[in-house]
Symmetry: C2
Subunit: 334 residues, 2 copies
């Protein structure tokens, strides 16, 4: 089924108000959950909304908590998310990083003790739509083995980079695992192999069989040893700068809470003007588009292009949502 954007946002808003969020924060969160679903990332939009409500009921997410600044060093600030709503905490952190960048060219907010931000790309887009380059990453539960190891001790620590580009910014938004747990499950349910190897089977062999990987949960980092190193470095940098939990420490908490996030903004259009920024991005993207496709008739998409197309389609036709999930969300209003 498809739900119009405004209707979906209003449903989220009314539920969040019932759960004790102040109006402004509820509105921002409702918008983020709707945007994520609208952009084709329902896994971190409508589909994840019920679990967020569970976390609120469990006391993992405090609706009334607001982030506070703990230390300032000029262009870099250390914030405490106070275990508030992850998506609004992240949104205000990127806003603050942009304020700092508007003064100093670059700004950094390191936030500890916050919650799952849902779709990290949302904060990249937030920066890019205001003319900034945005970079951010989060750490996670231990959910991937380090290179050379069997046990899950590192996070898949998604990293986001975004740049201004007309109505659909350039956006990369990816976990450092080759596939998310959700993608592996979806392939198994559909009876499909993964398009490239995604983990290890019980004999320790690299495999594309989603069912075999689910038995070990030894997923592969992107680039094998390279992604393992990136994951460790991003976890360390975030935890150092924010004085927040490392992946290891989050693993001791039972649920994925009190995570650590880092936000960087660069004042691209503010420093050099919109026209210059557009000309650079145009030069690179048009060159990519001209490359011979690998498959006859294929098309080369720039990073973020697919999400932009999905968004336009869903704004017009309504946002696709799983009927069962939507019904369960509507029951919150009863």
């Amino acid at each position: 089924m498809r739900i119009p954007y405004g209707e979906m946002r209003d449903v989220f808003l009314r539920i969040l108000l019932k759960y004790g969020f102040h109006e402004e924060k509820a509105a921002r969160a409702a918008e983020l959950f709707t945007d994520n679903t609208c952009d084709g990332v329902a896994s971190h939009g409508a589909n994840r909304f019920p679990r967020v409500l569970t976390y609120i009921r469990k006391g993992h997410i405090a609706p009334a908590a607001d982030p506070i600044m703990e230390e300032s060093f000029g262009a870099l600030e250390r914030w405490n998310g106070n275990r508030g709503m992850g998506c609004t905490n992240a949104s205000s952190a990127m806003d603050r990083a942009m304020e700092l960048a508007a003064i100093s060219g670059v700004g950094c907010v390191a936030m500890r003790n916050t919650n799952h931000w849902m779709r990290g790309g949302a904060y990249g887009l937030q920066a890019a739509r205001k003319g900034f380059v945005g970079i951010c990453w989060t750490n996670t539960m231990p959910n991937m083995p380090p290179w050379g190891g069997k046990e899950r001790r590192i996070g898949n620590n998604p990293i986001i980079m975004a740049l201004p580009w007309k109505e659909s910014p350039v956006l990369i938004d990816g976990a450092l695992a080759q596939f998310s747990y959700g993608a592996i499950e979806a392939h198994r349910l559909a009876g499909r192999q993964l398009p490239v190897p995604g983990g290890y089977d019980e004999e320790g062999r690299i495999t594309s069989d989603p069912g075999a990987i689910e038995k070990t949960w030894r997923v592969l980092p992107i680039g094998f040893w390279k992604g393992s190193g990136l994951s460790i470095a991003l976890d360390l940098i975030g935890a150092l700068l924010s004085k927040g939990n490392t992946v290891r420490q989050i693993g001791e908490l039972g649920d994925e809470i009190a995570v650590t996030q880092t936000f960087l903004a660069f004042n691209a259009e503010g420093m050099y003007g919109k026209e210059y920024v557009e000309s650079v991005v145009e030069g690179v993207l048009s060159d990519l588009k001209r490359a011979a496709p690998a498959e006859p008739g294929g098309e080369i998409l720039y990073p973020g292009e697919k999400e932009g197309r999905t968004r336009r389609e869903n704004l017009e036709l309504g946002i696709p949502v799983n009927e069962e999930i939507w019904e369960s969300i509507l029951r919150e209003l009863a």
Copy 2:
């Protein structure tokens, strides 16, 4: 053969002085070429030194050119490398990023019109050894196809992250291709398959056969589509911030010159103290070390640990160098 550290450095120094470098710059460059070789990265140390001399003779690298600041925005500065020596340009850029970070918590130097920095990890180590977190990346010639494309239009754009950790900092230093061209060639010469797939054969199939990949030069990005996106984003960010060449523009220059590099420093120990920084890194690394190894008797290394071991060994025993290459270098002194 093995050459003692001091002897190797002095040979490089004397040659660079002959080529017209001022004493201080020649000394810093000689040290960097020696360090890279000593850490086990001869490909960007002694083995690359003759090509750098060729670039100087061709006029691609100007020994007398110094980088200059073109614009300052507070914690972010835009520099012009003036096509000077890549390694000393990069070293002074990271020094400047640290100076900015010492004032503002974070500092960024975006440098255009510079030359190949040899081993990017050197500038990460430079920051980490002074108590900073260092992040830097460079763009390159077009040497990898974008995801979905056949032609090489994106760079393998190496990215570096480093953090303080006793005598051997945590260090990741990796191109966004799964394997460098040099590694692919070395496997073919040794008659070995790559340990994981590294590119495409002539039928467009993903392969681990180094010879087949050399026929197409369609190398794989790390994480397939993910590394392709990362490469595009890093190229765009660097070029935007520095007003420098993009990968596409470097491709028009014939040789890999006038590249664009970005340097970020975070004042970790300055903000929070050495003891705190050590405790965070210690917590993560000791946890990794405790993970069950994938292979019986295996060992999990932290990123940068191997380079540190190699360095200690080579400082003691002398630095291994290919005899033929070393002879050709010595002939420069004749």
